[in-house]
Symmetry: C2
Subunit: 324 residues, 2 copies
């Protein structure tokens, strides 16, 4: 079946990422089968899913969210299951957003393999456990790959597609095509090697490590560091990647000139980078300072603030694809 | 004189950053005195400055750019000097964007100090040479501070204000207030300690180092890495700083929960970070690969592309301060 045809997608695990992923799949002409082990799952789904489906251009909030889910169920586009077996039985894609726990992942794929059609594509939304580790107990190791979304996936364009060495090239291409459907703002990227954190989080954690070091050293507060990022690198990297930025920054000589011109400062910075740790006994002194300053700067986000932040994110992403 | 009153600003060095800075100052009711040693300076100014002053909301391009500069000169708002002495004579602020060369900086400040009024504020736009190094030959070391812009400063909101240990607190506050004038989109941030690369470039270079490592290791191409950044971290950090993002990512427990939940993956990534170098003999193998892939992905930017990128950047920044 072509990746651009309507799919029948089983979602296992409907936490925040799972709900957002359901919303993404429901923007297209798919049928979604959902399975989650939480005891109040149906109530939770009825209350939560409509928030992810809300039309961002509509000012009005649906006064009866239960009607949204009821309509999806009665049209056959959403099916709620109390067993994994029925949830997987007719799938063309099975996607899991369960706990980040290797034993759970291994056991779920072993079960899914025995329950889903042999043709079904198997996707894990893990942020940290490579497909090659998850597939250990599977018969056919060519079927599984990582589809790592960035939160919230119904808005954020990136999907990191990370095959194991045994994943078939056709299944990688199917996933890439599914998320590249014309009209979608999503941008799947295939990662060529399994590596901890994949690419997006490796880049984020590299920046975060230096950020924590700078707060620990009292160069800047956590709040001021965030202002610096939002007032410079955030909007720059929303418009250009890091390599393209330095290609421009180097003028006619491109990134080669840039590296020549800024080489001394860059090496000086690299030599002095902080080596803070998040685990272990040494190099973790920054943690309480960062947590305290972050709490002071932001507290807990209100639902109104969350809504506004999401709307802002949608606008940034809309501008990325506008021509003018 | 209050920082919010009209200023008389001497700009030394009118390369790309200097022109953009002139445009920033000219959006307010200031008088600008410009000085540059290039032989064709007047012609260059007449050709170049209007592009920085263009109304981004106007579709039409000024057919006679020389008229723009002529009008500024005849109104007295722009004064072109052929000697540093006359350029500095009436300044309330002297700002240099000259070569990134310590000898040049030391010698220019020694001269400026003997030519400008004693009350004038002295700002260097350096990206790498701390004020404490530049001020060595000055009589009064309390006057000089770094005002490090991000390119292009007439659009990009960030100004990193980095005093030396000897800079007076009043002069730091004056610079902060000047760039915080109500209605300005600029966001000055005071850095508490001199450190190579200040904060913005330290964060950028930390991310770049890992990016170069990932390209060198064939995890991802330079172009795909840029797509990943633009499809995730760019728009995220345009809306929230890194600490605020993880405060939200941790849910009710905030950044503390986030660090607990993601700690294993994060430490794993930190332990495996690339240690590429830009100078020296070891760890520089990535350079030709990155340069080649970046050239292949982007080539040389056309003026039309530059204009479009700047307009996109303006829109991102406008959205940052919109309420909805």
């Amino acid at each position: 079946m072509s990746a651009t045809s309507p799919q029948r997608i089983t979602l296992i695990g409907l936490g925040t990422i799972g709900m957002s992923m359901a919303a993404l799949h429901l923007t297209r002409d798919n049928v979604i089968d959902v399975f989650d082990t939480r005891p109040d799952f149906v109530d939770y789904l009825i209350k939560t899913l409509p928030g992810f489906l809300a039309d961002p251009n509509s000012e009005s909030i649906e006064p009866q969210p239960e009607k949204v889910v009821a309509a999806l169920i009665s049209s056959g586009r959403l099916q709620i299951h109390s067993s994994l077996e029925t949830a997987c039985a007719s799938a063309t894609i099975v996607q899991e957003q369960g706990p980040e726990n290797l034993e759970f992942k291994r056991s779920i794929w072993k079960k899914v393999e025995s329950m889903a059609p042999a043709s079904a594509h198997l996707w894990t939304s893990t942020s940290g456990i490579a497909a090659s580790k998850q597939q250990q107990d599977m018969q056919d190791k060519t079927r599984l790959l990582v589809v790592h979304p960035f939160n919230p996936p119904h808005i954020m364009p990136l999907l990191e597609i990370v095959p194991s060495p045994e994943t078939s090239a056709e299944r990688v291409e199917f996933a890439r095509q599914y998320f590249s459907i014309p009209g979608s703002r999503h941008r799947p990227v295939v990662i060529r090697k399994e590596i901890p954190g994949f690419v997006g989080n490796r880049l984020a954690f590299a920046l975060l490590r230096e950020a924590c070091h700078l707060v620990q050293e009292d160069v800047v507060t956590a709040g001021d560091l965030d202002t610096i990022l939002m007032a410079s690198l955030g909007p720059r990297w929303a418009g250009n990647g890091v390599f393209e930025s330095y290609q421009q920054g180097g003028g006619e000589g491109g990134i080669r000139s840039f590296l020549n011109k800024l080489g001394d400062t860059m090496q000086n910075v690299w030599d002095g980078q902080g080596r803070v740790n998040v685990l272990g006994e040494q190099g973790t002194e920054w943690k309480e300072k960062v947590i305290q300053q972050t709490n002071e700067a932001y507290g807990t986000q209100t639902p109104e603030q969350t809504r506004e932040k999401e709307e802002r994110l949608r606008r940034f992403i809309r501008i990325q694809t506008q021509r003018f």
